[in-house]
Structure formats: structure tokens, C-alpha cells
Amino acid sequence: MRLSVHIRKRLSSFDLDVRFDCEDKQLLALIGPSGAGKTTIVRIIAGLDRPDTGRISFGDEIWVDTARGIFVPPQKRSLGYVFQDYTLFPHLNLYRNVSFAAGDTGHVRDLMKALDIWELKDRKPHAVSGGERQRCAIAQALARGPKTLLLDEPFSALDITNRRKLRERLKFLKGELSIPIIHVTHDIDEALYLADEILPVVKGSIARKWIMQFLMKEPVRKAKIHSAGMNTGAAAGMKNTERKVS
């Protein structure tokens, strides 16, 4: 199924105007500086905000069509959303958080095992680490079997080690899922490592030039990555994506 987005919205300091598609099995990274409107885009896709004009469709379902006055509420869109920082329900243990909206408990167990949080199932969110909480948030988002997954800077509150671990796990999960995934980030390495396609967003518009400028500095950046002893997967991914972008 294809998620098609074409939206416009007047924000306080600029106008948001983007158009893109995301297919099944594709991970699309929305990358850009903070305050570029990336979060607003995913919030509009989720139905938490409304665009001024535009259309969002998923397969043959229309989620938003301002011209025809269609607006499907978030409850009916069947999507998974992982927020910037943990939004687990503080009154429930991890197991109940993951199974919150999912009926199938066997599936919940498999997911929690795959994300390595099954052992912590009886703990409350405040009693586990940031990385564990964020893995739980991903399990919660996936437990309902969503038709599409939105990740809004899911690693931003984590330290570098946890970030890398979770990044790898997400890469693995991505192979297992056959839905469109939209991943918001301001970290180019993260985008290069995970994404099939990168969409740079600057001041509310898609700015392909911006990423080209960024990649021109690549040799310097690559050297930095090596000296920091980081996994070269990111660098390899960088080459692939560079081809795609250019």
C-alpha cells in the first residue's frame, strides 16, 4: 500500500508545503534542522493536527481531503506512532502498556521478546532505563499491527550506545515489517543507516539542495566517523543513499 501525502499548512514563521509518497517496506527519513516542520508533518499524517489544505491517502482509504471535507480521526487510521520522548502510560507496567490496545497476547509476547523487554514486563515505565522505555514504546506502537509506522525522533533522548543499539534493532524490525515507515530525524547518520529514501525538509519545504550541500562535505564527515570508531554500516549506507539522492 502506498501512503500519499500532499499538505499545506501556515505555521507561525513559514508555510509548510510538502508532497511525498511512501510505499510498503520503505523507510522514508524526513531529515532537517529542528523547527523545520518535520514533527508537524507526522502529526498531520497521524491526525493529531489538521492541514489547511491537502490530501492524505493510504491505499484506497482517504484520511484527509480538505477539498471534500474529509478528515478521518486518529483512532480510525490504524497507525503506530513513536513520540520523541517516552509516552508510555505511567500507571501501567510494560506488559500492559504494550497490550494496551492489542488483543492478541501471544503477539505482544513475541514483540516484547524481539525488543528484549520481556524480562521487564512487570516493571512500571519509571523503573526501567530510557532505552528500555523507548523499545517498549516501539513495541506498543507495533502491537496493534498498524498499517503504517511513524517514528518521531525516537532515539533523540538516548545516549550514543543505546541509540546505536536501538538503531540496529530498528533496522532488523524494518526487514520484518511490510508497511511504510516514516522516520523523522535531524541526525544524518541515522537517516543514512536506516532509510531507503531521504527527504530533506527545511522551513516547511522539501529542499533537495540542502542534503546535497551536506553530502559534499562527506569526506570530512567520513573521516570523523572512522576516528570515532563507529560502525561503518553508516558510511556504507551513506554511499548508497548518495547515489539515490544524486
Binding site: L48, Q75, F83, T87, H91
Partner: protein
Amino acid sequence: MDIVPLILSFKLALVTTVMLVIIASPITYLIVYFRFPGKTFLDAFINLPIVLPPTVLGFYLLIWLGSNSSLGSLWETVFGMPLLFTFSAIVIASLIYNLPFAIQPMKAAFEKIDNRLLESAYILGLSRMKTFFRVIIPNSIPGIIASAILVFVHTMGEFGVILMVGGSIPCKTRVASIAIYEAVEALRYQDALFMSLALIPISYLFLLLINRLNMNEVKR
């Protein structure tokens, strides 16, 4: 010593508290989470009992619940007896009088809930109603308990409003505060002393409970 007034006060406080927790939580939800025309007016109107002299409120209730009013006559046709000067009348008066005291702590608790938790619940497919019961209420328990305690203690000490709509009918509407007043008037100081003494530890215990809850809240 006649302990019936104390029992009556306790019964009134209990009934008021249970009913108000049920009535006030959806009203608070409406005030905190919805935007609608006239919201500020409604909010101010609900809070009127805090600033109005109890006798003024009692006077309006006396007229509003009387046999000549629509509510009073409806009550009379349904139950076959007048509403005024009954236990039901003082329950109604007490509900209205205490509504703002029930709403304030709940409002503070609801407002503290991170909006993203609600958004997360919507995305997980929960309706607004289910979100209210499964996310808002369980995360506001200390606030709800605080409001219940406040209403309970406040009702135990109510005087003016109850006297206006309930009079002082033994075993029906003569609650502790009124019985104390009447004992003093009749120079039965011994009775007044015992009843007053009985009220102090009850109120003190409840205040301790509130403080305890607030402390737990801070620890979280």
C-alpha cells in the same frame, strides 16, 4: 449525648462525596479538555458557591426547591411529598455547594496529565470516552482522592445552606453543626462540647490524609 446528628452529618458527607466524585469528574473533563462558547462563564458560575455567603445560596435553593418551583412540584408529583426540609433536600444543596470544591483538585490533576499521553491513546484507537476512563482517571487518582476528602470534610462542617433548605428536623436534617448551635442556644454546653470534640479528630484525620497524599505525589 445524642449521637444521631453526628451520624446524620457522616451520612450526608458520605452521600455527597460519592455522588460528587461521579458528577464532578465528567464536568471537570469538559472544562479542562473542551473548548466551547461560554466556557469561562460556566467555570465562573460553578465557582460561585466559594464566594457567595452560604445563606444567599441557601435562600436561592429554598426558592428553587420549594413546592412552587418546577423542580419542587415535579419532585412532589413523583415522590408524593415535598422536597424541602428532607434529607434529599440537604443532599441536593450540599452537592451544589460543594461542586467547586470537588472540581478544583480534579482540575489540577487533569491539567497535569501530559497531552501526549492522550494523543498516544487516540492513536492506539481509544475513543475520547475510553481515554477518560483508561488514561485520565487512573493518572488522576491522588487528585480525585484529594477532592473527595475536601468535599467530605467541608460537608461535615456545613451549616448555613443546610439550615436554610433543611431546617433542623431531628433524625432528618439536624446535622452535627446545627445540633451544636442549638445546644449552645439552649445553654446545653456539655452536649455542644462533646459533639465539637468528636468533630475535631475526624477533620484532623482527613487533613492528615490529604497531606500524606500530597507528599506521595511529590515523591512520584
